[in-house]
């Protein structure tokens, strides 16, 4: 019984080790504010060709983001032929579904997409803790009660949602030019869901 208790406590301790510490990052002095620049220009229409892989099924479409004003974004997904599939508004803390195809009107899917899109468009983030492994900085933030880890010093190249030290969702930004990521990948690790976005404008 005693041994079991010790093992359990050890296990609990390991499980509680934070995600950056697990990856050999050490805590450093925290910078207070972090800016995500990728969908922050209200003068720009952000248009991406999207490929979504759910289990073994692949769907294509056009992913559109527009910053209407500060903390107010419109996120729309259409087919290549232009038919609207979904149309979301994020206005401060208010989330609104302007349109969703009946077949996709499922709470689970909407929540998943809402969470992912919110990460893409959230511009100003309060940093809770910062970490470094001497080559890269990681800033820990909180979005909707979930822990997110922003990788990169001057340019964000990766965002990880982690729970109990484990990666749940990984956002990767690549081919970054003038605050635009030409490629964005959103990979869920607890379900087989991946979204690949390629800029087309």
């Amino acid at each position: 019984m005693k041994r079991f208790l010790i093992i359990s406590i050890c296990f609990l301790f390991v499980a509680c080790v934070s995600y950056p510490k697990k990856h050999n990052f050490e805590e450093i002095e925290t910078q207070s504010i972090l800016q995500n620049p990728y969908f922050s220009d209200a003068n720009k229409d952000y248009v991406y060709k999207a490929t979504i892989t759910v289990y073994d099924k692949v769907f294509g479409g056009i992913f559109i983001v527009k910053k209407i004003e500060t903390d107010h974004h419109r996120v729309v997904f259409t087919t290549e032929m232009g038919n609207k599939i979904l149309d979301f508004s994020f206005n401060k803390n208010d989330f609104q579904i302007n349109y969703i195809l009946e077949a996709l009107n499922k709470k689970l899917l909407i929540n998943l997409l809402k969470k992912d899109f919110e990460v893409l468009i959230t511009e100003h983030l309060n940093v809770r803790t910062s970490f470094s492994n001497h080559t890269e900085t990681v800033n820990q933030t909180l979005i909707d009660k979930d822990d997110y880890f922003y990788f990169g010093d001057l340019i964000i190249n990766k965002i990880v949602r982690a729970n109990h030290g484990k990666e749940k969702v990984v956002f990767t930004f690549s081919e970054i030019n003038d605050n635009i990521a030409q490629q964005i990948q959103i990979q869920h690790l607890n379900i087989k869901f991946k979204m690949l976005l390629k800029s087309i404008n």
């Binding site: 003068n43 720009k44 229409d45 248009v47 060709k49 490929t51 692949v58 294509g60 056009i62 559109i64 527009k66 209407i68 419109r74 729309v76 259409t78 290549e80 032929m81 232009g82 038919n83 609207k84 149309d87 302007n98 349109y99 390629k198 087309i200 404008n201």
Partner: protein
Amino acid sequence: MRNLIFILFFVAFSMQGQTKMTAKEASDLKLKVKTLAKDVQSISSDFTQYKHLDFLDNDIKSTGKLAFKAPDLVKWEYVTPFKYAIIFKENKIYINDEGNKSDIDIGRNKLFKQLNSLIISSVKGDMFDDEKFTIDYFKSDNGSLVHFSPKDEKLAKYIKTFHIVFNETADVVEVKMIESSDDYTKIVFNNKVLNQPIDEAVFNN
């Protein structure tokens, strides 16, 4: 008073671009379109698509090629700014998304079937079915303009109205599909060629 005259003048002037057809003009156009559509064995055309979303600064522009072969083979192929082809063939939809090929069986999907026949009829312009659509006829600067509003509620949820522009030979030069939100997709055809042989292999994925 001067303002009122100015407004009336302005309204009259702006209305000139689009005036209602007389019943005779409408039935003449309908006959011409139907005659042309009946004889169409094939269509090949380039197209430019404009996706208009009210909140965007610019329409999303894409270009591609259309191939149609009677009775029901259709291929939409986008060339820029991405490569994507969708083929409607024998109750199936074949997709080639930048090299990734897939197909969807639409055998029992009523909406897809409706969509397929709508695409074919809108490309040919022959949507003059009073049971399915409320139809309004206009004369416009660059030919004739006909509004087709679906009576089927399910379909109307997707597309509120089709605006089709015909040239003087009653051939379709532009199709605009307006959603219930008033956002729309406009397709402008150019280099359209009718009834030239198209190799069946064009419709293979």
